[in-house]
């Protein structure tokens, strides 16, 4: 009986008893969710344009951040290091298209997925060989101070990160909806062969989409790296993006954002109010559980495309 009260009554009384703290938990959850969305966006872009679930997206975040911080450590000015890192990610996209995707054209999606697992190991290994495995500090000049708004403590860095994510999403939305390349990307995503038939160059489109995903990985790497230092664990951030994708849908940019926000708030509320009842550290698996519950009702995710196939 006591356990039932602790699970079903006490947390709600706690929330009602200190609404300001509840608001602080929600706001911090939203800001954290935005950071998850940054990583999830990379997955969405590649899945949207090629139907490939890119297992290596986390490794791309690590690789991009390691390249950037490695260049800065060698005395390259910050802006130039960002430009060179972007160039490296474009070169990577070219290499992926040339040596991974092209030989696998017309293969089943699971084969492409397996290839990205291989790419994941290559990027993790080569990033560490080239730049080392030691943790590296990344200071991009974003202030990290906290300030109080009506009893709610907010962190400047988290707010800047949310702004960066908003700009990125707006940019991607314009790119997909308003540009010829964006429309071509969507055409390729809908049907490879039909897109080829109307003259859309599949190879170029793949390079573009992997390059954009590489740029998103660089932004995610910069924001997460500035928070926790640039090191191997950046690659594990992908694990945080998976429930976001399940929830938001693999093909929707707004879905990645909304999914991130829901996961961020959900896991923070679960950890703060229910964590102490069942031993704590529940936020990781709670995010997956939340996503699975959504999956039961909307298998395509909140904003994903409904797949109807004739059988």
């Amino acid at each position: 009986m006591e356990l039932l009260i602790q699970v079903f009554v006490a947390p709600f009384l706690d929330m009602a008893g200190s609404p300001v703290f509840l608001l602080e938990v929600i706001i911090n959850g939203l800001l954290t969710g935005v950071m998850y969305s940054l990583v999830a966006l990379g997955f969405v872009l590649i899945f949207k344009a090629s139907g490939v679930f890119n297992f290596a997206q986390g490794a791309m975040v690590l690789f991009a951040a390691l390249t950037l911080v490695g260049l800065i450590e060698r005395g390259v000015p910050g802006w130039l290091a960002i430009v060179i890192s972007l160039g490296v990610m474009v070169a990577l996209a070219y290499a992926v298209e040339r040596w991974m995707l092209r030989p696998l054209v017309n293969q089943a999606p699971i084969i492409l997925f397996m290839a990205t697992i291989g790419l994941n190991f290559v990027l993790e290994g080569s990033g560490q060989i080239a730049w080392g495995s030691n943790v590296k500090e990344l200071d991009i000049g974003i202030p990290d101070a906290s300030f109080d708004v009506g009893g709610i403590l907010l962190n400047e860095f988290d707010i800047y990160a949310a702004l960066v994510a908003a700009i990125l999403v707006a940019g991607l939305a314009v790119f997909f909806q308003k540009t010829a390349v964006g429309r071509a990307l969507r055409a390729v995503a809908d049907n490879h062969q039909a897109a080829l038939a109307v003259g859309i160059p599949l190879k170029t489109i793949w390079i573009i989409v992997w390059s954009v995903a590489g740029a998103v990985a660089l932004v995610a790497g910069i924001m997460w790296g500035a928070k926790s230092g640039v090191q191997f664990s950046l690659a594990l951030i992908a694990l945080k993006a998976l429930p976001v994708l399940i929830l938001g849908g693999f093909t929707s940019v707004p879905g990645a954002i909304i999914g991130g926000l829901i996961i961020g708030v959900g896991e923070k509320i679960a950890e703060v109010y229910w964590g102490p009842v069942i031993g704590g550290a529940i936020e990781n698996w709670f995010a997956y559980m939340l996503a699975l519950v959504f999956l039961m009702f909307r298998p395509q995710g909140l904003f994903g495309e409904v797949i109807i196939e004739r059988v």
Binding site: S133, E137, D144, K227, S228, G229, F232, L236, A281
Partner: protein, 435 residues
């Protein structure tokens, strides 16, 4: 043709890796030490300085002294990535000629404890692993000197009491333990709970899941709880993030104390100025200003200080494994006194470790004066109940801010013996007799 060239290049790469990366190849007349390291993966920032400390000390002794009593030292690294499964594979690969194995992971240690007893290979989990292995009657093949997680927790509570003006002042204080949600992170919990009952402080346990990159929920709870002190058992990225989060909520950093695996350069340097004032426990001094470091600089790095620093020379974890490597070789010397100046076996090494007594005079002679406390291991006591030092980060280096703080042996030792007896009962082990 191109395909053949690619294959040839690949094969050459593998041969290169095998020849040049594995380290000095063990010969039969060398004293061989397997090194289970993690230079890659999420815990590499902690693993690299630890691996370099062992390597440099053995290298220095070979170059300076020609080995131990004329016996050359050899070693081979095996990459575990801090993964328990890979750690066990490394042990199986290298155990045949092993003098002693440092698993470098509490998870790996737990897996190796029963294996090592069968293989007659001593295990040394120095300041980590299963705390109950301090009872040498139940765990003849496992050692965790100079001190354990439980002893450390008691010393930290002792230190907090000193700061507050006495043990009686602990009553009513709020202490939070923020820990890595793993066997390692949970080790201190039983001791902290026992001491909370004894001294009347209010203990809150807050787990953070691997790897700990995102822990906002934990720090929201801290902000609401407003503890007087935070004790942290972190590893890898969790430590740096925790330090930044603590600073973000303006928690007084001098009331934030990490355990000895949560207080190295890897925790504070990436956190930048947010880490200033952060404290941590340790059982070895930090910095490169000890005589042994000068020997390493001279013999291993030919006086090139920049190169030495690139290899973590003088960092907290580097110094810790220097102490570990030195203690290994001292145990070899003890065994050689009994069995002769030759390569000793794992079983003989265990005898050397059971009778290890590193006195203050010997510490000075070896160039570690002030960097560590005397260490005595016995057949029954594989820990030695070594004292703990508190150090503080000033933005550039770790500085000691306490004397050597004694552990509460009266509290901890009975807990160790009880836990060891439970293990013995579960595993049908008859404790050995120690004279």
């Amino acid at each position: 043709m191109t395909h053949r060239r690619t294959m040839l290049a690949g094969m050459l790469g593998v041969v290169f890796a095998l020849v040049f990366i594995a380290g000095p190849v063990a010969a039969q007349n060398d004293q061989f030490f397997p090194l289970l390291v993690y230079r890659t993966g999420p815990y590499a920032p902690n693993g690299i300085p630890s691996a370099n400390g062992f390597r440099d000390y053995y290298d220095m002794v070979n170059k300076r002294d020609g080995g131990v009593n004329g016996v050359k030292i050899s070693w081979e690294e095996c990459e575990t990535s801090y993964d328990t499964k890979r750690g066990v594979e490394c042990y199986e690969k290298l155990k045949a000629r092993a003098t002693v194995v440092h698993p470098f992971s509490t998870g790996i240690t737990y897996q190796l404890i029963p294996k090592a007893a069968v293989d007659q290979v001593p295990l040394w989990s120095s300041g980590y692993g299963r705390t109950a292995t301090a009872d040498g009657t139940v765990f003849p093949w496992a050692f965790n000197a100079p001190t354990t997680y439980w002893a450390q927790a008691s010393a930290v509570i002792n230190y907090i009491a000193q700061q507050e003006g006495g043990m009686d002042k602990l009553k009513g204080k709020k202490i939070a333990h923020v820990y890595h949600n793993s066997p390692y992170g949970k080790e201190a919990n039983p001791t902290l709970e026992v001491l909370a009952q004894k001294f009347g402080y209010e203990l809150t346990l807050l787990a953070v899941d691997h790897p700990g990159q995102e822990q906002k929920a934990t720090w929201l709870q801290i902000r609401r709880l407003r503890p007087d002190y935070i004790y942290m058992s972190s590893w890898g990225v969790m430590g740096q993030v925790a330090v930044k989060e603590a600073a973000a909520i303006s928690f007084p950093m001098d009331h934030f104390i990490g355990n000895w695996w949560s207080a190295s350069e890897a925790e504070v340097v990436p956190a930048g100025s947010a880490a200033n004032g952060y404290k941590g426990a340790t059982f070895n001094g930090a910095g490169p200003n000890w005589p042994v470091h000068q020997d390493i600089l001279k013999h291993v790095y030919n006086g090139d200080q920049a190169k030495a620093k690139e290899n973590n020379w003088g960092e907290v974890l580097y110094n810790r494994t220097l102490v570990g490597a030195m203690a290994n070789l001292e145990a070899v010397r003890v065994a050689q006194k009994r069995y002769g100046n030759r390569v000793i076996t794992g079983a003989e090494m265990r005898w050397g470790m059971d009778n290890l007594d590193i006195t203050a005079a010997r510490i000075k002679e070896l160039g570690f004066d002030g960097m560590m406390r005397p260490l005595r291991i016995t057949c029954a006591d594989h820990e030695g109940s070594g004292p703990v030092l508190i150090q503080q980060w000033d933005g550039a280096k770790w500085n000691p801010v306490s004397d050597w703080i004694p552990v509460m042996r009266d509290v901890v030792r009975p807990m160790i013996e009880q836990s060891a007896m439970e293990y013995a009962k579960e595993n049908n082990i008859t404790p050995r007799k120690c004279e």
